[in-house]
């Protein structure tokens, strides 16, 4: 075997340029495949993590019919002992109750259908954190007038301020970023801009009877913190639900659709309003990690803890089938692209194999003529091809390791509209790579498979070799 390896290795370098070109093609295919896949999977991970941690959670306990009919009638009993039982289940990190429904909201002459989400204000801070979405600054006509009245702002600064008229911000950093002042102007004028545009918004206390109104809805209803909103709707089992609620604060939701219709209130207040004492529509469960195994184990554990068959446990991908399918679809597209890349490389390798067999037909004939068994010759050629693939594969994998490591710990920071949108959602605007996993090792399997496929040709040719014909070349 040692001798066969020696011959195979030396044969490989008989045509250095060809070996290098073929190995380089495998190298680049593996390198780009690994990097592309790593970014793709890293982005999915990032997206899923953000989505799960801000919206659905890893699992949700719901009434069995709630997924198909999301009405308050399809709610279930919630109390502290039940929450504690779920919290104590294996792999569970936190539980957060929600009660969701729809009503009409009215203020002055304005009325609109709105979505009510009732939360536990303290527990919710660890999940979607509405407090971080409170509007802290708003460029209003009044704010612009105050700035102009000082007479200290140059035109270039005022132009930028006026261009953002009507916009609201959840942090000073956000306002700075979107105004985009030159660094000197930023240092000189930003404190005063913040002071003129600052608005006062409060969060909810645990037993608060007030509400948080989303920014665009507040604009439509023409309400601000301190005003009141009348809610009218249908409560649990068809009871009439009416009430007047003081607005504690305005929150800015990144999705315009949600920002147009969201009202947040406390759980006790909503239960009283909807006459749904002790009821919730979902209990959001966060887990130690998002691996399929953990999700399945936790789902099974929690299912066994449920009081009756009216409640069920749903995974994040059951709750978000569209997101899940989009990721799956995009992933399949990525795999198809990699397939195309490998297909091109396959034909490159196959071309090398064809040339090699054609050039060495006579040599094969001589070797068999002087007494080398065909199986031994096949072994040498197999070794040769495997070495050819292995050089490119190992180099490609090794070259990708530092890049994956670097961008895993220091992800690419996104800029522009995409970054703004992601940050508005409360997500970090970064694009990380995925940690080494099956996608990394699969490249070795794919290259090995390609080599195996290309080997069929020389092995068949050697099998069919006729010494006399081969010796004639």
């Amino acid at each position: 075997m040692k001798e066969e390896f020696k011959i195979a290795w030396r044969n490989l370098w008989r045509n250095k340029r060809r070996t290098l070109i073929t190995s380089a093609s495998v190298f680049f295919a593996v390198f780009f495949a690994v990097i592309m896949r790593s970014y793709q999977l890293g982005s999915y991970d990032h997206m899923i993590n953000n989505f799960i941690e801000s919206f659905t959670g890893y699992l949700q306990i719901q009434h069995a019919k709630y997924q198909d009919n999301p009405f308050i009638d399809n709610s279930f009993d919630y109390n502290d002992p039940f929450a504690l039982t779920i919290l104590n289940a294996d792999k569970v990190v936190s539980v957060t109750p929600h009660l969701e429904s729809f009503t009409l909201a009215s203020s002055g002459t304005q009325t609109k259908g709105v979505a009510i989400v009732a939360i536990d204000p303290v527990k919710e801070k660890n999940f979607s954190d509405p407090e971080s979405k409170l509007v802290k600054y708003r460029i209003t006509d009044e704010a612009v007038k105050r700035m102009k009245d000082t007479g200290r702002f140059p035109d270039v600064v005022m132009d930028k301020v006026v261009r953002n008229l009507g916009r609201s911000y959840t942090s000073s950093g956000r306002l700075e970023l979107e105004l985009g002042l030159a660094s000197e102007d930023n240092i000189r004028y930003m404190p005063e801009i913040l002071s003129c545009s600052g608005v006062s918004n409060g969060y909810l206390a645990n037993d608060d009877q007030g509400i948080l109104v989303s920014d665009r809805l507040a604009g439509y209803l023409k309400v601000a913190a301190g005003d009141s909103v009348i809610l009218m709707g249908q409560g649990y089992h068809g009871v009439s639900a009416n009430g007047i609620f003081p607005v504690r604060g305005i929150i800015k939701m990144p999705s315009p659709e949600i920002d147009n219709k969201l009202i947040i209130m406390t759980l006790p207040s909503a239960q009283e309003f909807f006459d749904a004492e002790g009821k919730i529509t979902s209990l959001v469960v966060n887990l130690t990690d998002k691996s399929n195994r953990t999700i399945k184990t936790a789902k099974s554990n929690i299912s066994s803890l449920l009081p009756d068959s009216n409640t069920t446990v749903r995974t994040w991908y059951e709750l978000n089938p569209i997101l899940y399918q989009q990721i799956q679809g995009d992933s399949q597209t990525g795999i198809a692209m990699l397939g195309l890349l490998y297909l091109i490389i396959f034909f490159g390798i196959f071309g090398t194999v064809l040339m090699m067999v054609s050039e060495r037909k006579r040599e094969f004939g001589v070797l068999v003529a002087i007494g080398m068994q065909k199986r031994k010759l096949k072994r040498i050629i197999t070794l040769e091809m495997m070495l050819l693939g292995a050089i490119g594969l190992v180099c490609g994998l090794l070259a990708s390791v530092p890049l994956i490591l670097y961008f895993y710990f220091y992800p690419i920071v996104l800029k522009g509209d995409l970054a703004t949108m992601m940050e508005d959602w409360g997500w970090e605007a970064v694009m990380p790579t995925a940690w080494f996993g099956p996608y990394f090792y699969w490249q070795a399997v794919i290259v090995a498979f390609m080599i195996l496929l290309t080997m069929i040709y020389p092995i068949r040719k050697i099998g069919q070799l006729k010494e006399m014909e081969a010796l004639k070349g």
Binding site: E3, I7, R10, N11, W13, R14, R362, E363, V366, L367, V368, A369, I370, G371, M372, Q373, K374, K376, E467, M468, L471
Partner: protein
């Protein structure tokens, strides 16, 4: 003692339109330590005859028996092993393994025979010394002249201790000096190691060295003459 027997051997190639009778009813035998030249014009059937003797091709009819073994009765795999252990080949264009050194090329045959490394090396060096290449054992074929490569090929052919050596126009690509040198070596090995040599040739100088000359024409043995070699 007979090393090789050919009994009523025929080889007919069926081309698209005509049948070519490349070897026609040849009956010959070769004894140990013979130094035989097979001569004849181009297309006379010399190479076909040598290929049949070497088991590289099978006769249409007739028998080829080497050391009591009928080649026609061997499977493809058995035939390869038989060639390895019984026949040494010297080709017109040397056909050494380009990636191996002279020493490794000679060792290679013994490697196929699963001989131990020490024994392989010792015999390979011995043979390369005999063919006058002791100082070039670590050179690859590309670094050797045509004559030197052919001498390595002879050493390789001898390495497996075969019953006989088949050489198809071994001097065709060599200059005069290299031809004489190679013939001296072959003659010496024939004499010293009692090795049977059967070679096809066009070259009158090679024919002069032969102890027996078999002339082939149109696939038939025209003459089979014993002679005293001219030195």
């Amino acid at each position: 003692m007979k090393v090789l027997e050919l009994k009523d051997v025929n080889k007919i190639y069926n081309s698209s339109m005509v049948k070519v009778h490349a070897v026609n009813d040849v009956t010959l035998d070769f004894a140990e330590a013979e130094f035989t030249a097979v001569v004849g014009p181009s297309g006379s059937g010399k190479t076909t005859l040598l290929n049949l003797i070497g088991g590289l091709d099978m006769p249409t009819t007739g028998e080829i028996i080497i050391g009591g073994t009928n080649l026609s009765r061997l499977s493809s795999s058995q035939l390869i092993d038989f060639r390895l252990n019984n026949i040494g080949f010297v080709f017109q264009s040397y056909n050494l393994i380009p990636v191996l050194t002279a020493l490794e090329n000679v060792e290679f045959i013994m490697l196929l025979q699963d001989k131990p490394k020490q024994q392989r090396q010792q015999r390979a060096i011995e043979l390369l010394t005999q063919v006058g290449l002791a100082d070039k054992i670590h050179k690859r074929p590309g670094e050797l002249s045509g004559g030197e490569q052919q001498r390595v090929a002879v050493a390789r052919a001898l390495a497996s201790k075969p019953r006989f050596i088949l050489a198809d126009e071994p001097t065709a690509n060599l200059d005069t000096k290299s031809t004489e040198n190679l013939l001296d070596i072959m003659e010496h090995l024939n004499h010293e190691e009692s090795m049977t040599f059967i070679f096809s040739t066009h070259d009158a100088r090679v024919v002069q060295k032969a102890h027996r000359v078999v002339t082939i024409e149109d696939g038939k043995v025209k003459s089979d003459i014993e002679q005293h070699p001219h030195n």
